[in-house]
């Protein structure tokens, strides 16, 4: 039988990972809520952001956390332009076409990454990479704890943006009724692109938080997009707190799954949850019937 302390340690690890998953999933959920499409490029954009951090750290010698104020606005700007110039133009406003355009962007980005950086797995070296912090019975790498704290802070900022700013209100108005939003003078196309930009900006933050304990390769986004999609479905499509709690839950499930079933089977629990959600509660934990 397992010792309780191992179980708790696994829980803490899961929650720490889950906080970052929640941040990644929130970006996906926000874009879904406004544009009503699953952004299949979300994982590839995270990969691009991870390469961004990698080169800022390796070439300019920046600390990965010091890269946050550079990468978040850069990722946001890239997302805005990507939506305005590629997604909106190529899809001509048809939602099913938007879906395919984002899939196309993912393919282009991944192959571009293979061509430019080859498919090597890269990691960064930081002075504090091996520093450990005790959290209850768990011994957590300091970088993982920092990532979780940073992700929670980013989630809080995102929440404040959505709830308490004019842009946040406009985003929620557009999500619900585009035409009524136009009638109060909201530039709906601008808000679409801004929502997309916020979605990619969250990836900029997530990339800076992740890389110290993670790696980057052209395919690194695949795992994340599946996890994020599962979280969004589990929490309820477009639901903010659904994505947050769903992220933490999935982090824990993955960690406990790894503990009981071994690393390679650890993710099976995530997909079991995904299928169970679709079968038993297709609107998700926090979702509303459409």
């Amino acid at each position: 039988m397992l010792e309780p302390s191992i179980l708790t340690a696994s829980l803490v690890h899961g929650l720490a990972n889950g906080a970052v998953y929640a941040l990644v999933a929130l970006g996906l959920s926000l874009v879904y809520g406004v544009l009503h499409i699953i952004n299949f490029a979300h994982g590839a954009l995270l990969m691009a952001a991870l390469y961004g951090v990698y080169f800022l750290v390796e070439r300019l010698g920046l600390d990965p956390y010091a890269a946050i104020p550079i990468l978040v606005p850069a990722a946001g700007a890239a997302g805005y332009l990507l939506h305005r110039w590629v997604v909106a133009k190529a899809s001509r406003g048809r939602e099913e076409a938007v879906l395919l355009v984002t899939l196309g962007i993912a393919l282009v980005l991944e192959n571009l990454a293979v061509a430019l950086f080859r498919s090597d797995t890269r990691t960064i070296e930081t002075g504090w990479a091996f520093a450990m912090v005790a959290v209850g019975p768990a011994l957590l790498p300091a970088a993982k704890l920092a990532a979780a704290a940073g992700a929670l802070l980013a989630v809080a900022l995102l929440w404040a943006l959505v709830r308490a700013t004019d842009l946040g209100r406009a985003i929620r108005a557009v999500a619900k009724d585009r035409e009524a939003a136009r009638l109060v003078g909201i530039d709906v196309e601008h808000v679409f692109a801004l929502a997309f930009a916020i979605g990619t900006a969250t990836l900029g933050a997530a990339a800076c938080l992740l890389l110290p304990t993670y790696y980057v390769s052209p395919q690194v986004g695949h795992g994340f997009v599946l996890i994020a999609f599962t979280i969004v479905v589990l929490g309820g499509m477009g639901s903010f707190w659904g994505a947050f709690w769903g992220g933490l839950l999935i982090g824990v499930v993955e960690s406990l799954g790894g503990l009981f079933l071994g690393e390679s089977l650890g993710q099976i629990g995530i997909f079991a949850i995904f299928i169970a959600t679709l079968l038993l509660r297709p609107t998700g934990l926090f979702g509303r019937a459409v």
């Binding site: 004019d166 209100r169 406009a170 929620r172 108005a173 619900k176 009724d177 035409e179 009524a180 939003a181 136009r182 009638l183 109060v184 003078g185 909201i186 530039d187």
Partner: protein, 235 residues
């Protein structure tokens, strides 16, 4: 020069032609009614005026500026604000947030003062400011939709069927409110099926049928028109 001028306007959807050469004017400080049965093209006219639909021919100008090819937000910016059919408040947003959004494009600088004004006008909304707009009654939602439009400090307010689905007493309150706002200088285009009550507050009116203006004139003249009385009032 009229505040709103619609000239030989034609518009439609796909193969369907809805408006076939409509002329209409609203002057500064006027209340004008646009009457007509379902399917006459009233809402299509509103959609063109607000920039949601491009006209096929003709034009709409507002305060001398051609607006029929401008984006909706530019039209709001100019001061032409519409309260759409079915009110279209944002149901998940609170009453207060709906009002704040009313000033998203126009009237931002005087937003706090205008909020006070709207809450004074509709004490019911003040009581429910934190409530989700979707939980309000139909009449309260209509108040909110009008309040939201007022937040943009409109020069012309277009109301699409504000009486639809409301109890007669509430309809009277809404119309009385429009008269009050009009006295303060607001021009109103009231688009309605409710002929008698609309004519009671409008100075002039137009009758739209199958995409054409079939009658126009001072309200009193239209009320006396034998043919209209038979067609719309069943008298």
């Amino acid at each position: 020069m009229p505040l709103l001028a619609v000239r030989e306007l034609a518009a439609g959807y796909g193969p369907v032609e809805v408006l076939r050469g409509v002329d209409l004017e609203v002057g500064e400080g006027e209340i004008v009614a646009l009457l007509g049965p379902n399917g006459a093209g009233k809402t299509t006219l509103n959609r063109v005026a607000s920039g949601l639909l491009r006209p096929r021919a003709g034009e709409v100008s507002f305060d001398g500026q051609r607006v029929s090819r401008l984006a909706p937000q530019a039209i709001v910016e100019a001061g032409l604000v519409q309260v759409p059919e079915g009110r279209r408040v944002f149901p998940d947003l609170s009453v207060h947030e709906n009002l704040l959004l009313g000033a998203y494009r126009r009237g931002r600088t005087r937003r706090p003062a205008n909020l006070e004004r709207v809450y004074a006008l509709f004490p019911r909304l003040a009581e429910r400011r934190r409530q989700a707009a979707g939980t309000l009654s139909g009449g309260e939602q209509q108040m909110l939709a009008i309040g939201r439009a007022l937040m943009a400090e409109p020069r012309l307010l277009i109301l699409d069927e504000p009486s639809l689905g409301l109890a007669p007493l509430v309809v009277e309150q809404v119309l009385a409110l429009l008269v009050e706002l009009n006295r303060a200088g607001l021009a109103v285009l009231l688009v309605e099926q409710n002929v008698v009550q609309s004519l009671a507050i409008a100075r002039r009116a137009y009758v739209l049928e199958q995409g054409r203006i079939v009658a126009a004139g001072p309200s009193a003249t239209l009320l006396a028109d034998e043919r209209l009385r038979r067609a719309y009032l069943g008298l």
